[in-house]
Assembly symmetry: C3
Homo-oligomer: 399 residues x 3
């Protein structure tokens, strides 16, 4: 884009340099890339999210949460439609007392008046304290964060930028909520009292079981090739040692694991296996019985070319549906995840599964709200206040 020309050199840098510019010491200034989610950052955000979720259970806790950031005003700039992510951010803001404003119409009056996108964003930054943006334009959020850093260097007003989905590749807060769900599930620790006992009970059956995401097997099923949530989540999980990944997708160029991603994961030390059915076996055992976590996805239709669409329409999707029989073969603790929406026509997860205790997808959606609230507390550098509030409510800081 013409108007991003100014940031050409910054855009061309290796990701490590970019990540460094987006942090201040150990804290994120802007949330732009999934790869900013290091295990250290994830651990910080998980703690925030756990505190927020616990506080939100009581009226008193809720009241304290709304006292954290009521002086902040958020702009939700969603020129690419998204009900789910939008509402999740709205709810996250409201939990913290942040007031919300929105721009959702891609054809704003300003574009008619030939205002540059960067002028619009800077104008918003005059009125608001954080901009959460979702756009079809890949580099837009990234450039905005560079503009903010530049303003900060000139000692002018600058605010955090959050990428809520840009173009077809990055959707870092989805990776965040997926990781939060995984970290919680593999904590085996719903409430601290029953913690040991739950892990203890599970160990009777699964003797090697250890807490945490390391050393586990993740099964991804469905639209592997184009699912940006799969890409981001796999890349993030790959940071943990001893991880094995099963990719289950139709044998179609567009849907299966692409070479570039395979290389990258391989390079990160992941054990990768590809299958074309959920009923496949590895070393004689069904893959479903080996998975510690199942991540289902919808075969996307809205991005297809007409040609691809016809090809995909002819694929038998039965091998990629999580039927009750298949669910029965899963480990007792293996979470069933899905970034949602699920396809009610294809039915990759039939509604009968919804009442299975491992069905995590609605809780996963709700986790999005806690994880995004955790991120906002982090970006606004209000973690100290959160700890204080938590201590006031529960009589001790969370260990």
């Amino acid at each position: 884009m013409e108007e991003f020309a100014k940031f050409r050199h910054q855009l061309a840098r290796p990701i490590e340099d970019k990540i460094r510019e987006l942090q201040r010491h150990d804290r994120l200034k802007h949330m732009i890339f999934g790869s900013q989610l290091s295990p250290e950052i994830l651990e910080k955000l998980r703690r925030n999210a756990d505190m927020i979720r616990n506080m939100a259970r009581s009226r008193q806790g809720n009241d304290r949460l709304r006292q954290l950031l009521p002086h902040k005003r958020a702009m939700l700039y969603f020129t690419q439609p998204s009900t789910r992510t939008f509402l999740s951010f709205m709810a996250a803001c409201q939990i913290l007392g942040i007031t919300c404003n929105e721009v959702r119409n891609p054809e704003t009056s300003s574009e008619v008046k030939r205002e540059s996108r960067m002028d619009s964003i800077r104008m918003f930054s005059s009125y608001f304290d954080v901009i959460v943006m979702r756009s079809k334009i890949s580099d837009f959020a990234e450039c905005c964060s560079y503009m903010m850093n530049e303003l900060e260097n000139q000692e002018m007003r600058a605010i955090p930028i959050v990428n809520a989905g840009s173009g077809s590749d990055e959707h870092p807060t989805q990776a965040l909520l997926d990781m939060y769900t995984i970290l919680r599930t593999f904590d085996f620790d719903e409430t601290s009292a029953s913690a040991r006992s739950r892990l203890g009970r599970l160990k009777e059956k699964y003797s090697d079981l250890k807490p945490g995401p390391a050393g586990k097997t993740y099964l991804f099923c469905g639209d592997i090739g184009r699912g940006r949530t799969v890409r981001s989540l796999a890349a993030t999980l790959a940071q943990y040692p001893g991880v094995r990944m099963f990719f289950v997708a139709p044998a179609h160029e567009v849907l299966k694991l692409d070479a570039e991603m395979k290389d990258r994961l391989d390079h990160q030390g992941v054990d990768i296996y590809e299958f074309t059915s959920l009923d496949a076996k590895l070393d004689g055992d069904p893959i479903l019985s080996q998975a510690d976590c199942v991540y289902m996805t919808r075969i996307q239709r809205e991005h297809n070319s007409k040609e691809t669409e016809e090809q995909i329409a002819n694929i038998d999707l039965a091998p990629f549906k999580l039927t009750p029989d298949r669910v029965n073969t899963l480990k007792d603790y293996a979470p069933i995840m899905h970034p949602f929406p699920r396809d009610s026509v294809v039915g990759e997860i039939p509604t009968e599964i919804d009442s299975d205790p491992r069905a995590m997808y609605f809780r996963q959606a709700r986790n999005g709200m806690w994880a995004r609230a955790a991120l906002l507390v982090h970006l606004f550098d209000a973690v100290d206040s959160l700890y204080l509030a938590y201590h006031d409510v529960f009589g001790r800081a969370q260990d």
Copy 2:
């Protein structure tokens, strides 16, 4: 609808069984049908509404009201457009400190992605604490309430559902606000001090006058056949003893009182009379001079078939206009109501009437706000807190 198939048996039950499922003891869990508004429930909601309205008069009272439910987040899911009902619910929420979120676009991205409606609603229930929904699909709100009850039975997160207008038949909160207006008007008690005296004064002229909706004559005029507000209100009023109803409508199949409704009201013991002009007489006296309450409606145009539209266009609507001369024949205390909007071209209520003290329609709209706030307090089981707050502000609970 395919996706409601699961609830087939529940949908087919008699209304009494449904109503029972929507309550817990004497409290509504969901607000779906006008027939949930029994005199007992109406009396509870009237008390709530009166307290809220009184508190809203002072800054201190307002502050206490906003402390009632600030930890709650509402989703206003209005896929059928409605400015008035929408804003009234927004305002009701804001009075109580509830934060609002909205979905107003019927073509959400999720539908493109073939998400089922029930998935959408369950997803919203992850983020929000009540869903107020207006939809063209008749059974949608009802099915959502059953889904919530099912989740509750499974000890999962469940929230109240409010029907803000579904399909062409149900609009229970409109009936609620109409009834609230009638209950207030026939209380003859604007402030407790001058209460007796006002009723006393009126009794000098209308010796039989008693407080309350029982034993009164209600005149409905305009679009009787298709006005869902008329249907709901008439059915609710029919619960009170000794009620007489005048229906004044053009002699057109589509506009006049339909046989089914007539039967139902008849069965409920209502004395029913039909007329084709506001100037009609009954037992020698003008019907307008006999009415205790006049409920005007707009002849709807947006639901007509082309054929019907032409027929209606040829009807002389003069006999259905509340001209100043006609207003002069009304009883001193008879409220003039209208669910609004009124038709500025037809002018079923000309603007000259607006300054008449009996013109109740703008206050009726404002009552919608109090009545809806009252309903939310009831659904969230916060009546105790409301009484406490009222007591703090006024030094005594309302008698």
Copy 3:
């Protein structure tokens, strides 16, 4: 408009009579016309705005601000699209704790149902405590304020009306924020401590320099003929003595200073000069070096007829661009203003200028938020509470 017929006589009165009706003693009841912004009212609003902005710097100040009007609910009725003004009002409301509601779709369901506009507005006034309206219909806001006054006279509920842009002529809150920016700039007093010294330093170079808008030279450049912001601002500045104005516009009928406005300013005692290039000289000196304030505008395209558009497309706009060379000739203190959006294709202010300390346009946008908050405090008669809160935060009322 048919429905404004009722207000025919009021609409035809001289502006002085209108202004009187819109005030109560020395306070505005409604904000409809730019000419309501007398130097006295401007001074009051400037004080409010300065207090609000100072308080907004701290968490404590922010908390107190949100306690000023949390019991008020605003309706932002923007049937003419406007991102900027809309968001600025939203932010202003949020600063003061006011909850916001909006109608932004010109084709509301009510219009389909033939509701009159005045009925809509009166209905909104049932739910909300102020209506901020932007409409294509010139007299709409004015008529609404008369309706409110009429209701007030009948001792019925009435609320303030704010004109946020009506038709092509009035946009009083834009004039307000422009004036606030000018008043602040010519205060030469960023913080009270360094105040004298800044004016002192400037006086070494510009010996005649005095604080305040009187006696200064204002240069307006661009779309003089149709820019309603230029019209309003020039008319407001003309109230101060000894003012000189330079109008720099292409020599096109539609773009240059029109006769009527020229007459009016002339009548107000302004020294008027017209030029067709920013490089023009007056009395041998470049006009840019003589200006105390430069107000740039965008050549509007969206209002042009096809014919005019072609003519304007052929005009060389180079003489109306504020290039770095031209900026170098400006006085050290001369603010560069622009009502925004700027045209990114024409580039009347190139982005290189953005980091110049005199570039005021983004701060000007932010001033819009403070100025509008100041106006709301004034309209709600909450100035006393603002002073009290300011005193609590800073230990003294602002001098």
